[in-house]
């Protein structure tokens, strides 16, 4: 063993290395041959000898690779030093990878989950009419609910949609009355920005309309979608909530995906997090889209993709999402 080590130490060139490899480690090398000889030993000694052989082989291999690496590094350094065509003072070209926005990652995930469950994924406009955003979802003029959302109005009378619900009407008309669809999108509200509020944010709305779609179905679908999104079993809880386009309306809570409902800082130790709103679609919304509420019924739900992204990627300031800060964006992994 010591002899072999000494031999390895004295090697100076790649050629000598190859010679060493041939002599000891190759198929016909001395070490490999020793292995073949093991089978001639009596059975009682074979196990012990095999163990010793393996230890020896590993030790020599390890020394060999170490020596090989150091020789190669030495060769490269010499080339760098002596080759007139190489200037080591020039900065390296950074190999960067691009990135997709966290909202894109999340939206894709939600779309994949929902489309596999039979939901159509619909893309909608950001500029919509007053009718689509308000009247068609049962928020008539003078309704206090119009106060709940400060709207960016355009001088042409249209507006930047304040809620993805603005698409309900169009989808019901185009694909209804029996339809399952989700429609993620960017929404705008005229409010001050801070670490947890942005005047533009992403929501994902969904609905399912059919002949017997019930609250029990709503709970089932929410539980399934949310469990898929978070990659663990999520319990859902409905509380009374008021949204003009549904009746009855619910606030939707999910068991905290970060602690499993035991209580942590994300859920403020309650075990539950508010995820969005939902309810049975109001008969006025159906009627306005020419769907007969005597025959068809269904549910709608909406949750904040921006909020979800902040939770999923542990983003503590919502403003980062629209900052164009590449260092931040590249740091987000799917």
């Amino acid at each position: 063993m010591n002899d072999i080590e000494k031999e390895l130490e004295q090697i100076q060139t790649e050629a000598e290395m190859a010679e060493f490899h041939k002599n000891y480690l190759s198929k016909t090398g001395k070490l490999t041959m020793m292995m073949a000889g093991l089978k001639d030993l009596p059975a009682s000694e074979r196990a012990e000898a095999g163990k010793r052989y393996n230890e020896l082989k590993r030790a020599i291999e390890s020394q060999f690779f170490k020596k090989q690496a150091s020789l190669r590094a030495k060769a490269v350094n010499e080339k760098l030093k002596n080759d007139p065509l190489i200037d080591i003072t020039i900065p390296a070209i950074k190999k960067t990878q691009g990135s997709l926005h966290p909202i894109t990652h999340l939206t894709r995930r939600v779309a994949e989950i929902c489309s596999s469950m039979g939901f159509l994924v619909v893309d909608g406009n950001e500029v919509v009419t007053e009718f689509e955003n308000f009247d068609a979802v049962n928020i008539p003029a003078d309704h206090p609910a119009r106060d709940m959302q400060d709207t960016f109005w355009l001088t042409n009378g249209k507006l930047l949609k304040t809620q993805t619900s603005a698409l309900q009407h169009e989808i019901l008309k185009k694909h209804g009355p029996v339809v399952s669809a989700i429609f993620p999108g960017r929404c705008y509200r005229n409010e001050a920005t801070d670490a947890s509020h942005e005047f533009s944010f992403f929501q994902c709305e969904g609905m399912m309309v059919g002949e017997n779609i019930s609250i029990a179905n709503l709970i089932y679908v929410m539980k399934t979608i949310l469990s898929q999104i978070f990659g663990r079993e999520i319990e859902v809880r409905l509380r009374p909530g008021f949204f003009p386009f549904v009746e009855p309306g619910f606030e939707l809570d999910g068991s905290c995906p970060f602690c499993g409902g035991k209580g942590c800082s994300v859920c403020k130790h309650s075990g539950w997090i508010e995820l969005g709103g939902c309810g049975m679609i109001h008969e006025n919304v159906l009627k306005m889209a020419d769907v007969n509420p005597e025959q068809y019924q269904g549910f709608a739900f909406g949750f904040g993709l921006t909020r979800l992204a902040m939770m999923q990627y542990a983003i503590n300031d919502v403003r980062l999402l629209n900052s164009g800060n590449l260092e931040f964006l590249r740091g987000i992994k799917r």
Binding site: G118, D147, W153, I213, S214, Y220, P240, L329
Partner: protein, 570 residues
Amino acid sequence: MKISVDWLREYVDLKDITAQQIADKLTQITCEVEEVVSLGRGLESVVVGKILTCDAHPQSDHLHLLTVDVGKKEPLHIVCGAPNARAGIVVAVATVGTVMPDGMEIVPAKIRGCESFGMCCSYAELGYKAEDEGIIELPLDTKIGLSITEVLPGLQDEIIDIDNKSLTNRPDLWGHYGIARELAVIFDRPLKPIDTALVHEYDKLPALNVKIEDNHCLSYGAIKMGNFGGVVSPDVMQNRLYKLGHNSHGFLVDLTNYVMFAFGNPLHAFDAQKVDKISVGTVKAGTEFTTLKDNVVTATKDMLFIKSNGQPIALAGVMGGKNSEITTETTDTVFEVATFDASNIRRTSVAVGIRSDASMRYEKALDPELNWLAVAEVLRLVRKYAPQVEVKSAFTRVVADNLPVMTREIVVTKKMLNSFTGVDFSGLDDMVERKLTGLGFQPKIDAEKIVVTVPSWRAWKDVTTPADVVEEIIRNYGYQNIQPVAPLVEIAPVPFTAVAKAKDTLKDLLAWKYAFSEVHTNIWYDTKTLKHLNLTAPSYATVANPFNKDDNQIRSSMLPSMLTVASLNK
């Protein structure tokens, strides 16, 4: 909106139910409770005492040295600075060890050389009411040694703070009585009925001259009373208002606020000397009007005013006027108990920028029948706390000729109830009947259907469709009791559209092959940047109410924002 549990107990028996249980049930069944705040905890060791001796402090010109009998063998020595401290009065003594509402602990102390073993408290120090004119003086026959919490029952209370947004569609829940009705149903306990018969005891008195000129006033009731001079607001009333965040403004104003918080119907008290023939209607557009809080309002052609001989004296449903305000000299008053159109009040409130407790309630579409409960409560409180007051007119109430439907019948088939909820309600008729009856819906249930008569307090804009009735049933059944059920629909994966796929492919290609990063930026141009870059960029549309007034052009080119991002990341 703040709700006092102590006040709720006046209308419903809440024995053995904690404030937290009330809050949890309300959140599950009715509306969102934001927090529960306990008041007066730890004040059991504040006891009734009698000042035996009161001497001047040798080292001070305003402190007193007291000996106070608190029912123990030896009287307590207490140093006290209150100007009204004197021998013979009965006071509230915070004994050593008491932690006051502000967090201060009472400990034995030496004040300018004299020892003190307690503190004589004022109402404000105990957190009972805002008014603070020296230490509490209790009736001389109050039992010495008794805990103050037994003498002032409202001192210990729990305040339930409800998210106003969750009450947007519940006009009936803007007073304690409405919340009490919900709790009576939730906990299956009886609700105290409100007797309005006493209002009619005055029917023979002369009527007031009251007229509705504009149908946005749905009902207007007025009653005149005299001889209020010198009446002070009772402690119980001040305490209840204080706990909801309102200071005392004298008996008349406190009375109107109190009744509003009890039943949800706003009231107004005018100085009777400044009110003659009352009419409700509009005034000439451009007319200026000063409210009692000195806001100057310019009338539009749609704003409703209360007028006296044609001159505006109150901005209807929003705020009273300076010119008819109650003052310390007021002896006679006219109480207004009215109902206005929700949309009209909301528009006015937004236009003048005043959101009062009254306008907040009116814009939810209040029940005009509430007028009777409110005026009955005024009369009851006046009889109790100001027996010398003389009622000088009948309660004169007129209604608009186009009063909205305030009661309606709705039929819910059992088939719909089951299919809508996904719950099998067979065998639950008793529960459904009990809950709907408690809520005032007078249900009639047979094998096929449930027929309800919607009570006036839910009828106007709240419960109008079968789904609304289903909500009443299912929320009281309990959302947590609904078992999730997979929908019976054909489920097949839906392929993405070609456009959606192309968009994804393009994004992937750019990001993963060519090292682009996807960014989100504002959709309007930043004017300063455009100027700086000396760029003119085409506009897609103009924002009428932009965030910053210069940045109102929506982009149709992304180049300027991309350049900004590039420069930020260089």
